[in-house]
């Protein structure tokens, strides 16, 4: 009798616990719906106020799609290289290649029709060096620029520290002059002066200014189509030059290399263990395919991400034609927000997915409000401006990206407010710093300087990627040493 009462009581406790968990889940799902309502309210409300706000809302909703895809597929550019080198897992690299290919395939007709918002970046060894800085940083930080946004949406406060560190580093680095001018070669200074920039831009005072105007701008900005003597807005240039030569062939070779080094052996061993035939071209092809579909969530996220990125460019270009401007600076001016426009009247308005510059901008805006003059440099003062973050189109995208990730995380019960420890906060700050330097040297991050560029046939994209891979390798070497040391201390007491 006593036993029966005890077991009934245990069952009641278990049931109550389950009901509590169910209630928690439901509460999270309500929060997710609330977020959808919040973003809808912003879009509808601002549109009713002024139709120009639809331009910002398009950034917002694509940002939300990016956040949803990133969280759903646990899509992290950092882990693409890091997990490959550290634990021999290629799932993320495969996901990124799928996303890049899809982005390229959908972009090609848009580019051929002359409707792309993309502009190639200068090509030289600076992209590799920038990639190395960025690669080291993303491994130390525990995530790249885009994944830090989606992880913030999961409630991960370490990721928020990464964003703060990355944003602050960029804003300060873009403006650093004085002592840093001693590290500028004379040829850069001379070349920068010859560019004839407006007087408000003190081009000889600022390391990044002289790096940009004295070196980077002198490098050719070309796509694979242009290298092969074709134009981007032609069918042959967009499909043969940029898509086939710039993406499909190198991506295919990269995956074949990853299969041969990281996947093939394990796959063939599994076949042998199961007593199946493990030789021949059919087996190799099946092995290659098994690597592609090994993680369906990542592959699906990559697929949607790739298509969304290309459609984003098309919609932005359509709105620019509709409203008759080429840069959102004009739009902000028309709706009465003229603070923080660059000397050319422009603001940062990429027309596609981008992460780091809008992060630097909100810090730049905050510093300006604190009385620190930072509109005398090229980055803020001549090109991107420092508009109020509340009205910055690209900031709407990043903000919604965090929101989109939060929505999916809440629906899947993966939202958890995670407080940083001193150790994890330290890695976040250091990693964010290195990524900030890399992003400014490379004129973008894993998204702007690698993903978008590769998918659009920009010759500098793979160079940045090569640097990122090298940097990730160095970062993994460091963490292997660090974790080995920490684990050895803990294992001593277990006799291992």
């Amino acid at each position: 009798m006593q036993q029966q009462v005890a077991s009934e009581a245990t069952a009641d406790v278990a049931l109550a616990k389950m009901t509590l968990e169910e209630q928690e889940k439901r509460k999270k799902q309500l929060w997710a719906l609330g977020l959808v309502g919040f973003f809808s309210f912003i879009s509808i409300g601002t549109y009713i106020y002024n139709e120009y706000y639809i331009y910002l809302s398009v950034y917002l909703w694509f940002g939300m799609i990016y956040g949803m895809c990133l969280q759903y597929g646990k899509f992290c550019f950092s882990s693409a290289f890091r997990d490959l080198f550290a634990i021999r897992v290629p799932r993320m690299l495969v996901g990124i290649v799928i996303a890049t290919l899809l982005f390229g395939v959908v972009s090609a007709p848009i580019t051929a029709a002359g409707l792309s918002t993309f502009h190639a970046a200068p090509v030289s060894s600076h992209a590799v060096i920038a990639g190395i800085f960025f690669g080291v940083g993303m491994v130390i930080a525990g995530g790249c620029a885009s994944s830090s946004l989606y992880k913030t949406g999961e409630g991960n406060m370490n990721a928020l520290i990464v964003i703060l560190s990355l944003s602050l580093t960029q804003a300060l680095f873009a403006d650093v002059g004085g002592w840093a001018n001693n590290f500028v070669p004379d040829s850069w200074t001379q070349s920068a002066l010859e560019k004839g920039l407006p007087a408000s831009i003190t081009v000889t005072d600022g390391w990044v200014d002289q790096y940009l105007a004295g070196y980077v701008w002198n490098q050719p900005a070309v796509t694979y189509a242009e290298i092969l003597g074709m134009t981007n807005d032609s069918v042959s240039g967009a499909f043969m030059g940029n898509l086939l030569v710039g993406i499909i062939i190198p991506a295919g070779l990269l995956l074949a290399l990853v299969y041969a080094i990281y996947w093939r052996k394990g796959y063939l061993n599994k076949l042998k263990k199961a007593g199946k035939d493990a030789s021949g071209i059919r087996v190799e092809l099946a092995g290659y395919w098994s690597m592609i579909i090994a993680n369906k969530r990542t592959a699906i996220a990559g697929l949607i991400l790739g298509i969304a990125c290309a459609l984003h460019m098309l919609v932005m270009q359509g709105l620019r034609v509709k409203f008759g401007f080429k840069n959102a600076g004009v739009l902000l001016d028309r709706i009465g927000w003229d603070f923080g426009l660059s000397v050319q009247g422009t603001v940062f308005d990429p027309g596609y997915w981008y992460v780091t510059t809008q992060e630097a901008q909100w810090v730049g805006w905050s510093l300006q409000k604190m009385g620190i003059e930072n509109m005398d440099n090229i980055y803020f003062g001549f090109v991107n401006g420092i508009p109020n973050p509340a009205i910055n189109p690209a900031d709407w995208m990043s903000f919604a990206l965090i929101g989109g990730a939060a929505i999916i995380a809440l629906f899947h019960d993966e939202f958890k407010f995670k407080k940083p420890t001193w150790e994890t906060a330290m890695w976040s700050v250091i990693g964010g710093f290195f990524m900030g330097i890399g992003a400014r040297l490379g004129l973008g991050c894993n998204v702007g300087a690698f993903f978008v560029r590769v998918a659009n046939g920009d010759a500098s994209g793979w160079l940045f990627g090569l640097g990122m891979a090298g940097g990730a390798y160095l970062g993994v070497k460091f963490f292997n040493w660090w974790t080995e040391r920490q684990l050895a201390k803990e294992m001593e007491s277990c006799g291992l």
Binding site: E21, E24, K74, C76, S78, S79, R82, D83, A86, I87, R88, V89, R91, M92, V139, G142, G143, S147, K151, E154, N156, N158, A159, W263, G266, N269, K270, K273, A294, N295, R297, T298, A409, D413, E414, F415, K416, K418, K419, P420, T421, E423, T424, V476, F479, N480, T483, E484, Q486, L487, E490, M491, S493, C494, G495, L496
Partner: protein, 83 residues
């Protein structure tokens, strides 16, 4: 709170990497499994969802097996048997 590794029973070990973000959970798991003997069980506790995706594939690729995979209030508790 830092990483914790302890022996819970004969052939049973616990690795607690709660609070850590990538790449710590996956690297610690890999290194811990390398040190264990065939048949040993590692109980892994972590709360970083993206690490889980990588750890799952690593365990499968290395021929190790999951004995149990539980999720409680945003925390993952996985039992892995070394091959």
């Amino acid at each position: 709170m830092g990483m914790k590794f302890e022996k819970t029973d004969d052939g049973h070990y616990r690795l607690d990497v709660n609070g850590y973000v990538c790449p710590h959970p996956q690297i610690y798991t890999k290194k811990a499994l390398e040190k264990l003997s065939s048949g040993d069980i590692l109980e892994l506790i972590f709360d970083n969802p993206s690490s889980g995706e990588s750890i799952e594939q690593m365990v499968e690729n290395d021929g190790n097996e999951f004995v149990e995979q539980k999720k409680e209030s945003g925390q993952f508790i996985w039992q892995i048997q070394k091959a």
